[in-house]
């Protein structure tokens, strides 16, 4: 609080003292104290009724509380003075971690917003309590209240944020509008519904009826959040189970998911597709379960069959994930993440843009993480060395565009090389065996030239091309 700049302090003082004055004037003017008490009680308890809609696109927690609908209900039912009295209930919302200034300011701005919206309602011909028989004419004052409450309330909040953080008001305003203006507007209709039913003679019981669908929705959203967490945790531990087969890849999948996201964000991939990309990164090596452990852990040169076994892992990965409809593009990405731009990759030897976009991203992320992680035959390389390697192989192994994006992302977000050398104790420690490690670009080069079919990659038009549909367009 002490950090607040002078203008912000003046603004808060002005708002809070006007609200106190309005409340002082309201007390003798309120007629229906019973109704005020009921609505006030709901406002005070609103912490328990706040509906959390999860995180929005930009990561802001969107939640809507029942405060605004109650105040708006009071506008329709009791007019400006009653709305001010109900809004003052915000001062009684005790929360453990909200600072006192915020509680004071919030209560004041809700009180004033309700009071002003009440006058606007009366000015446009509304009556308190609302005459719901006057539809559709009464829609004009109703709409005015729903809109003006949101605008006035928004103006107070923008003033506070911009003065406290020294940000231009227009920027704050835009951010708020983008977030959830429509959701709030729809939600405020609850206030109208409340007033109509209450005014029809039902009285306080209407609050109970109206809160039931809300409370249920709140409960189910909580269940949803819990289920989603459980789901994520389950996938994560499955991936870990895969990685126990192969000690040096511990944590690899999550890091590849992270690096793929860095590339995807730089390339402006849409949010819902980013989620798919993340899953693709997490699950890209799931097919390694289909490779015998002794091959994965073998020290020394691999036989022809063992190479073939390793190269099957993208195919196995697709087999496992094929039925997961929601993975969509990710399945294709898992299948093709070892393709090379020059067509010498596997399993199909696709060339250039025929390789699905996500697969090209994961290829870069995969190689980058593998280089910056300790391997049995070498230490972790530095980020700079890894970037050099990426540049070296762009256009042959990697899509140049994705390499550029990775480099750009690294400038904004630092990357910590992973030292897993502590995990290696045993005979395989010093045996140079990069041949089986096809995530490493150098090894991949050896592998590619090792493959009998490497000299004549398939031409772009020839292969069965079920995979190339539906992946372009979004990024252009």
């Amino acid at each position: 609080m002490q950090a607040l700049p002078m203008p912000a302090r003046l603004f808060i003082t002005a708002v809070v003292s006007s609200a106190i004055a309005v409340l002082g004037l309201a007390i003798p003017r309120v007629t229906d104290w019973g109704a005020v008490a009921v609505l006030l009680a709901v406002v005070v308890a609103s912490e328990y009724l706040t509906l959390s809609l999860g995180r929005s696109v930009s990561g802001v927690q969107v939640s809507i509380s029942v405060t605004a609908p109650m105040v708006i209900g009071a506008v329709f039912l009791l007019g400006p003075w009653g709305a001010a009295a109900v809004g003052a209930g915000c001062w009684l919302q005790f929360t453990r971690d909200t600072p006192l200034v915020k509680v004071l300011f919030n209560g004041a701005q809700v009180t004033l917003s309700g009071w002003l919206a009440g006058w606007i309602y009366l000015a446009f011909g509304g009556t308190a309590p609302i005459d719901s028989g006057a539809f559709p004419g009464v829609l004009i004052p109703i709409t005015m209240v729903l809109v003006s409450y949101e605008l006035i309330n928004g103006a107070f909040v923008v003033g506070y944020i911009s003065l406290a953080n020294r940000v231009a008001p227009a920027r704050v305003w835009r951010g708020m509008l983008a977030e959830s203006a429509l959701a709030y507007f729809a939600y405020n209709i609850f206030g109208l519904l409340l007033a109509v039913v209450w005014g029809a003679g039902v009285g306080p019981f209407s609050v109970v009826l109206l809160l039931v669908p809300l409370a249920v929705a709140r409960w189910v959203f909580a269940l949803f959040a819990r289920e989603r967490e459980a789901y994520e945790a389950t996938i994560r531990s499955f991936i870990q189970a895969v990685e126990t087969k192969d000690a040096y890849t511990r944590g690899h999948s999550e890091r590849v998911a992270k690096a793929s996201l860095m590339i995807g964000r730089t390339m402006n991939v849409r949010d819902d597709r980013l989620e798919t990309l993340r899953f693709a990164g997490m699950l890209h090596d799931v097919g390694k379960l289909g490779v015998p452990t002794k091959v994965l852990q073998k020290a020394g040169k691999l036989t022809e069959e063992e190479f073939a076994a390793i190269q099957l892992h993208p195919v196995r990965g697709r087999e496992i994930t094929r039925e997961l409809e929601f993975l969509g593009e990710a399945i294709i990405a898992i299948y093709h993440h070892h393709e090379r731009i020059d067509g010498r990759g596997y399993p199909l030897g696709l060339v250039g843009d025929d390789i699905p976009e996500f697969a090209r991203m994961i290829a870069v992320a995969d190689a980058f993480d593998s280089m910056t992680t300790t391997r049995s035959y070498r230490g972790a390389r530095s980020v700079d060395e890894a970037v050099e390697e990426l540049i070296k192989w762009k256009g042959t192994q990697f899509d140049a565009e994705m390499v550029e994006a990775m480099i750009e992302a690294l400038a904004a977000e630092p990357w910590q090389p992973t030292d897993t050398s502590a995990l290696f104790v045993g005979p395989q420690n010093n045996v140079p065996n990069y041949a089986s490690d096809d995530d490493d670009p150098t090894a991949a080069e050896v592998l590619a030239s090792h493959r009998p079919s490497a000299e004549n990659p398939r031409p772009a038009g020839e292969k069965s091309d079920n995979y190339s549909t539906g992946r372009r367009g979004e990024s252009s």
Binding site: L193, V220, E229, L324
Partner: protein
């Protein structure tokens, strides 16, 4: 042996019976309406349209229950509505039933056009409860008693009537479900009420609110008052979606042991399907069945930690010490999730013998573990085979283990299911 704890069970025919009752009621009502003519036809048409629209926004609840809360709420509101926009409504119960039927079926036709199935039993139940609500409530509308009450009392009366009707709905739904799943009826009722009470409370509240607001507000109350319910429905949709994604993922991931050559193709799924049938028939709750399914799908996950696959992937052929080790390894993987503790316990104890010695049985082994144990061994013997000789032989072999390895009640239920499948029951 044949019927555990003497529980009441219903047959698969109960769904058909319900639909038949609803169809008969509809035909009877339509005949009455055709003779008497439609009173206040425009309102009837308006409600038909609203119900049809609500029917289009049908959701699938977690647990696979199909329901259209908005349509049901509008039907219930229509059944109770005393007047609309100041105009008293004088229609009769047959008209309420007919409007519900026509609206619901119109919506169903739209769904059919979108190639989505029509859950006839859900529509039948709706028709029945709407008829009950109209039958209970509408006679009061004309009575002298009604005129003397305050609106609050009427609101309370409506709430009680609607809640009773929605409980009746769950009871009927359980009747159908118990018939198709062969679950004990009492458990089916508990599951049904548990799964539906939240959405039903929201549906009922919406119906009452609409019926209370429309007399003064007019027809616009019907669309406006469904907004809160739409929000509730949206939250359920999200929840159901993540739940089914979760199950789908575990099903897919259960195949990693197959792809890795550790287990036979389809083994985890066959075991889980059989285990779920046994669990339902033994009266496990819906939640327990779900955890049983997860555990059964993942019961071999511990094999991943083995250096070399066991030949043939069969855990029946391995020593009990090795089987216990695999169970422990798998359980450790599942425990890591931090959210599936019970599933981990079930997997951990699947290798334990039910009679560790001297005729004492070990009741600390979760019932789910005992089910998985028996189903796993059964599948190791039968595999993907559909030969009934082989299936019956496998069951006989399990019976030999009744005094040592298996819970006899599990083996009995399993036997009943297998005999039904082979046509010997």
């Amino acid at each position: 042996m044949s019927d555990q704890r003497g529980q009441f069970t219903t047959g698969p025919a109960s769904g058909t019976a319900l639909i038949a009752v609803a169809a008969l009621g509809t035909v009877a009502s339509a005949t009455v309406v055709a003779n008497e003519g439609v009173q206040q036809g425009w309102y009837a048409l308006f409600f038909v349209v609203c119900i049809a629209l609500g029917e289009v926004f049908r959701i699938r609840m977690p647990g696979g229950r199909d329901t259209a809360p908005i349509a049901t709420a509008i039907c219930l509101a229509y059944a109770m509505l005393p007047s609309i926009g100041g105009v008293p409504l004088t229609y009769t119960i047959p008209l309420v039933v007919s409007v519900t039927a026509v609206g619901s079926l119109t919506g169903a036709v739209f769904r059919l056009a979108g190639r989505r199935p029509i859950p006839l039993d859900d529509l039948a139940r709706r028709l029945i409860i709407v008829a009950c609500v109209a039958g209970t409530f509408r006679p009061f509308l004309e009575s002298e008693w009604f005129g003397r009450q305050t609106t609050t009392v009427i609101a309370l009366f409506m709430t009680v009537v609607v809640l009773v009707a929605l409980v009746l709905d769950s009871v009927m739904a359980a009747l159908v479900r118990a018939g198709t799943d062969r679950a004990p009826y009492s458990q089916a009722v508990i599951d049904e009420i548990r799964a539906m009470s939240a959405i039903n409370a929201a549906t009922g509240a919406t119906a009452v609110l609409t019926a209370l607001a429309a007399p003064s507000m007019g027809w616009i109350a019907v669309p406006i008052f469904t907004i809160p319910l739409a929000l509730t429905q949206f939250s359920f949709r999200k929840y159901a979606h993540i739940s089914s994604t979760y199950l789908q993922t575990i099903r897919a991931l259960s195949r990693v042991t197959e792809v890795g050559g550790y287990t036979e193709t389809g083994h985890a799924r066959r075991v889980s399907r059989l285990a779920v049938s046994v669990g339902i028939e033994m009266g496990l709750s819906e939640r327990e069945v779900r955890e049983l399914e997860y555990a059964a799908l993942m019961h071999d996950i511990g094999q991943l930690s083995l250096e070399e696959p066991i030949p043939g992937g069969s855990t029946l052929m391995t020593s009990s010490a090795a089987a216990r080790e695999i169970a422990g390894l798998g359980s450790a993987v599942i425990k890591q999730t931090g959210v599936l503790d019970h599933v981990a316990e079930v997997v951990e104890r699947q290798a334990d013998a039910y009679y560790p010695g001297h005729g004492h049985h070990d009741d600390t082994i979760p019932i789910e573990s005992r089910i998985i144990r028996a189903c796993n061994d059964y599948d190791d013997l039968v595999g993907a085979s559909l030969e009934s000789d082989r299936m019956l032989h496998a069951v006989e072999r399990l019976h030999l283990g009744i005094t040592s390895e298996y819970d006899p009640r599990v083996v009995d239920t399993l036997t009943r299911i297998v005999k039904r499948r082979t046509g010997n029951l």
